[in-house]
Symmetry: C2
Subunit: 428 residues, 2 copies
């Protein structure tokens, strides 16, 4: 067997612990699959804490990541501290020192992937990032290797466990967003400041990475349209269920050739859609490839061992080609000329819920506003709320977003319309 | 860019046409992803027929596969004729001539994979076979690469489109097995002799391959327990539905450490199971890995382009490491000592349906037979069939197969029991 690969690990939090655990416990399997042993030499962590089941005498602990970056014996640097800085400097230093780098850092790859991959290529080393997106789901490997003989036209993902957990519980237990969120925070499924998850920031990073690979172009994270789930009410879920739909928070990418749609928002999906039954903390990514057709990958999106499994998959991949002395062609991202489609131009079906006065003529006024803006209505259901109030549920046929929004603005201004309660895009 | 890779294609049927189509139409994408152009040099086919959209002037056509195997310019031989011979001789010849080989031949890999991989290693070349199992689903790549830091304990697969199509239509349209089969044959979804599909032979080949990778041991195809779907009646599907189950034809592998269960038979799955909503001609493979946890891969299991996509994924993989001059470590299958668990020893829940005389005491006799054999009953439902006949549906708790079968033998011998209509294993 070839000489060992030496690994330096920057960051010893949840995922770092998982990486150390797999290296310690599954050494034989990894060695057989990599063709050489994988050895954890050094861990850099400012506040190193011993972890259950990890023998910390097997590696050196340092507070200074430079000890890893400048160690000539270390072949692979694994960065698991997250955030842009100092992670970016560490990774750049490692690449310049001809070390292969593995990262789980979605923010850094989404914001600076293009420059970092260029630097990796200049130095003939690899920069792998499977763990940055959907932990245990090997979607990046799939798109860059096994499915690489495809152009992708569609990418739909449930890529955030927190929002999927909240929506699943709202659906199954008939409880409100606020109540589930509180409970999720108590159980550790949601952060004290939940904005990164519930407002879709985390999803936008992941969509930016997945779309860059799928559509062969580095996109600007700031251009991705993003809406959160905090306005989804239990009433919407109830109505969705009654029509055979579920509401899921999705990352959506659609390639039209010269333009690409990238958007993050809740969607009403038919219950029979492969993504509709992805529940709780699970993630899934659905793609449509030019040759393979529809394909879906399902698994845990986070957690110590699922994410560490992705890191170690990358490590074995690098170890297998350690002698190649060049950057893997899997990282040959292109830069197809393409621009993001303005949100106004997307075409979708829509579900709308209005609180209106319960009196004759209201539906006629609303219908006229839709008709005047070329919005074709598929279904209307009116429920008496008592006290001369009614709830109107409307589903539209496919229409351009700008026209739908124009109609909704007109409807909101009608004196008989008390509130536009919900606007949720639908998918077939 | 590096020098082109020359490909020789043996067999120009459906998949071969797809391979030629992708090589012709997606050349630029493939070249960028492989780091070098991929060129189809020669096609060997006894009865070459021009195919729509394929420019046959771009390659040489021969009737003699030896023209490919002995051509020093050809780097990769793609074998797509299927069956053991002459495919085996062609592949062995190619490997001996230091050519990388890609095959979609499940029968050959299941029966002779061990020897063929050894021959590939001896000659420092690769033998890739993603397309042999579940066409468009990159499950082999996932297990050998991105998920390689896992030991797998469970493998459940819907790996045959024909049986899944038949069961899906039986479920959705309330029609009989015979009627759907006839229709499937008319539409080309089932062969004139459907045995390879409906009796589970095709599934056993695929299970043999997947289990060998997942459980790190080459299994003997002849030892796999196999039951077909022809005895599944629409009544069983109706009852399954009423209890929130669906009936799916599964390939099952369970690793107990020293023993492994490998079996192919219909299973009643809870409707919420990720595999339960895999319908029609789609395939899916569900695995449980030691680190990644539950993971599922979904896509088209067959067809010209999905299967050709898998072949080309392998081709790009080989092209990327063409300079390595050694067999990929992805093919480092082990040979963990393990034996197949006898079917008698497996533990499952069971669904049973009996036609019985509708008279007092029958249920007591049946219950006693179950009790005497330590079979614990979870649910009994009795339906009057008229004419002093009744139907008894029984679901058991988990029990060892040998005990269940002993009870069923006793019950079948009871004078009040007219028929054991169904015995279907259940999964949670």
């Amino acid at each position: 067997m070839a000489k060992p690969v030496h690994i330096g690990l920057i960051g010893f939090g949840t995922i770092g612990t998982g990486v150390a655990r797999i290296l310690q416990n599954d050494g034989d399997t990894l060695a057989r699959r990599a063709g050489r042993p994988l050895t954890l030499k050094t861990v850099a962590e400012l506040k190193f804490l011993a972890k259950e089941g990890i023998d910390a005498t097997r590696f050196t602990v340092t507070k200074d990541a430079t000890d890893i970056i400048s160690d000539p014996e270390i072949d692979i640097v694994i960065e698991l501290i997250g955030g842009v800085q100092p992670a970016r400097s560490f990774i750049e230093g490692a690449l310049r020192n001809k070390k292969h780098v593995i990262t789980a850092n979605k923010e850094l790859i989404a914001k600076h992937g293009r420059e970092l991959f260029a630097l990796a290529r200049e130095n003939n080393v690899n920069l792998n990032f499977e763990a940055s997106t959907c932990g245990g789901i090997p979607i990046i490997n799939a798109m860059t290797s096994a499915l690489c003989a495809n152009s992708f036209s569609v990418l739909y993902g449930i890529v955030n466990g927190t929002t999927n957990y909240i929506l699943t519980r709202m659906q199954k237990e008939h409880v409100s967003f606020a109540d589930v969120l509180k409970d999720a925070q108590r159980l550790g499924y949601a952060e004290a400041d939940p904005s990164s998850d519930v407002d879709g920031h985390d999803i936008a990073y992941k969509l930016c990475i997945l779309a860059s690979i799928a559509f062969n172009h580095f996109f600007d994270i700031n251009e991705i349209h993003r809406e959160g789930i905090s306005r989804i009410s239990h009433r919407d879920i109830e109505i969705a269920t009654s029509y055979g739909y579920v509401i899921k928070m999705l990352a959506i990418g659609v390639n039209h050739g010269d333009t690409v749609e990238l958007r993050v928002h809740p969607v009403m999906l038919p219950a029979a859609h492969p993504l509709a039954s992805v529940n709780g903390a699970f993630n899934a990514v659905f793609v449509e490839g030019s040759n393979v057709g529809q394909s879906m990958f399902y698994g845990r999106g986070a957690g110590e061992l699922p994410t560490a499994s992705a890191v170690m998959g990358d490590a074995v991949e690098i170890a297998r080609r350690l002698d190649a002395g060049r950057t893997s062609e899997a990282l040959n991202f292109g830069s197809a000329p393409c621009r993001l489609m303005p949100m106004d131009d997307i075409v979708s079906m829509y579900y709308l819920r209005f609180a209106v006065d319960d009196r004759p003529g209201v539906l006629a006024q609303i219908s006229r506003a839709f008709g005047d803006n070329d919005v074709s209505i598929k279904l209307v259901k009116q429920d008496d709320l008592g006290n001369r109030r009614a709830e109107l549920n409307i589903m539209t046929h496919e229409v351009r977003e700008s026209k739908l929004q124009a109609a909704v603005r007109e409807i909101a201004a009608l004196p008989t319309v008390n509130e536009v309660c919900s606007l949720i895009r639908m998918s077939s």
